[in-house]
């Protein structure tokens, strides 16, 4: 028998909290939008910092599993991963925490407390700031796509309102795909109406620009980097999720275009 591999017997009592705390760090990173390589790197840093001698991590789209070992003892544990968003301040806090753990500054219990603190106190931009920023981004997107200046204002307003609506829907736990369709419908309809009222000549492009807040850019780039880094299963899952999101977004746009065409 190869003695270099940990046995999954959980005989070392310190392995259980170590595995769960490490998994929690990985889960939070995943939910904050990190790529598989980043998660693997940071989870290894945390586990080794807490005393593990061997670490094997499996990163799935909806769950993560880890095996940690010290000497001949080993333990395998799994955790569910929640909704995958993007939160850079949380990501940065977790990376700083991993550095502190790797330097041996924190015990397993202290790391657990720090994870709880980070999860509850990491600030988020206010809904207003976020909505206006998204509106500006979509208006800039519109200009990049060729929307004329008359259409830029309606795109800004429609995307701002769309971001507000998206936040409200997600707060009320509406399914993310259904929310994407509803927001795409609302934003594109508002952009279309506003652009027509102002005499914009690039009506269809304005309607499309107003829904670009819904395009899953980070997951689509992460999907490819995961595949390139040797995580094809996770990369494929992300790709499928991106494709389904785009179909639901396009459905909302299609509905508003049908309504718009019949109206006039």
């Amino acid at each position: 028998m190869d003695n270099s591999n940990p046995e999954d017997n959980g005989s070392a009592p310190e392995l259980e909290p170590m595995a769960m705390v490490t998994l929690d760090a990985g889960r939070m990173l995943m939910e904050a939008g990190a790529s598989a390589t980043s998660i693997n790197e940071i989870v290894n840093k945390v586990a080794h910092g807490l005393g593990a001698e061997r670490v094997d991590l499996r990163i799935g789209y909806a769950s993560m599993a880890i095996t940690v070992g010290i000497g001949h003892a080993g333990i395998t544990r799994m955790r569910r991963v929640g909704h995958l968003g993007v939160n850079q301040q949380l990501d940065l806090e977790l990376r700083c925490l991993a550095d502190r753990v790797a330097d041996g500054q924190l015990t397993t219990e202290q790391t657990r407390s720090e994870l709880t603190r980070i999860a509850t106190t990491t600030p988020r931009h206010s809904a207003w700031v976020m909505a206006v920023a998204v509106g500006l981004a979509c208006a800039a997107f519109g200009r990049l796509l060729g929307v004329d200046w008359l259409g830029t204002g309606p795109v800004f307003l429609a995307a701002t309102i769309g971001q507000f609506a998206r936040r409200e829907l997600l707060t009320r736990h509406v399914n993310v795909f259904i929310a994407a369709t509803l927001v795409a419908f609302l934003s594109s309809l508002l952009a279309g109406l506003g652009a027509r009222w102002l005499g914009c000549t690039t009506l269809t492009t304005a309607m499309i620009a107003s829904i670009l807040l819904l395009v899953p850019g980070v997951p689509s780039v992460n999907a490819q980097s995961d595949i390139l880094d040797g995580h094809p299963t996770l990369g494929s899952a992300r790709s499928v999720s991106v494709a389904v999101t785009l179909i639901f977004v396009a459905a909302g746009l299609w509905l508003s275009q049908v309504l718009f065409a019949n109206w006039h």
């Binding site: 976020m130 920023a133 500006l136 981004a137 800039a140 850019g217 780039v221 980097s225 390139l228």
Partner: protein, 154 residues
């Protein structure tokens, strides 16, 4: 391509990247880096398109430049390099092509399909452009990281 157009695209890229930076909860102090990343991406892509390159090639060159710049500057920015290069390339993600591709596919399945062959070709063209452009962006971003990782490993 005029200088005015290049500046316009660069500014719009910066605004789009910074706006999405806020959506991704990047801190206010790091937002200028996001804007710079987006500006660089759009400047390179617009310049390459002006040279007659296709969208996929120009997007690849832009992503490669952003990826390399982020690697060089990573010690100075208080933001993860993964986030900075992805946020910079967000304005190049072909979301409008994706929407048009799916709408064209929807049109194919309608009861009264007009010019079915033409619609199918259009849908395929948009779909392929989306796939190749996303592929170009992802590959362009990955190359500097992978090269650096090889150097560090050695």
């Amino acid at each position: 391509m005029t200088l005015h157009f290049l500046i316009h695209q660069t500014i719009c890229g910066a605004i789009a990247a910074a706006g999405f930076g806020v959506l991704f909860n990047v801190g206010f102090r790091s937002l200028p880096w996001c804007a710079a990343s987006g500006a660089l991406a759009l400047a390179v892509r617009t310049y390459c398109l002006g040279l007659g390159w296709n969208l996929e090639g120009a997007s690849f060159a832009a992503a490669l430049t952003v990826g390399a710049a982020v690697q060089v500057l990573r010690a100075r920015t208080k933001i993860s390099q993964n986030a900075l290069d992805v946020v910079g390339c967000i304005p190049m993600v072909p979301g409008s092509f994706a929407a048009k591709a799916i709408l064209s596919l929807f049109a194919l399945t309608s009861v009264e399909t007009v010019n079915a062959t033409e619609t199918l070709v259009t849908a395929m063209q948009y779909t392929l452009r989306v796939m190749f452009t996303i592929g170009a962006i992802g590959t362009g971003l990955a190359i500097p990281t992978l090269l650096l990782r090889v150097r560090v490993t050695r």
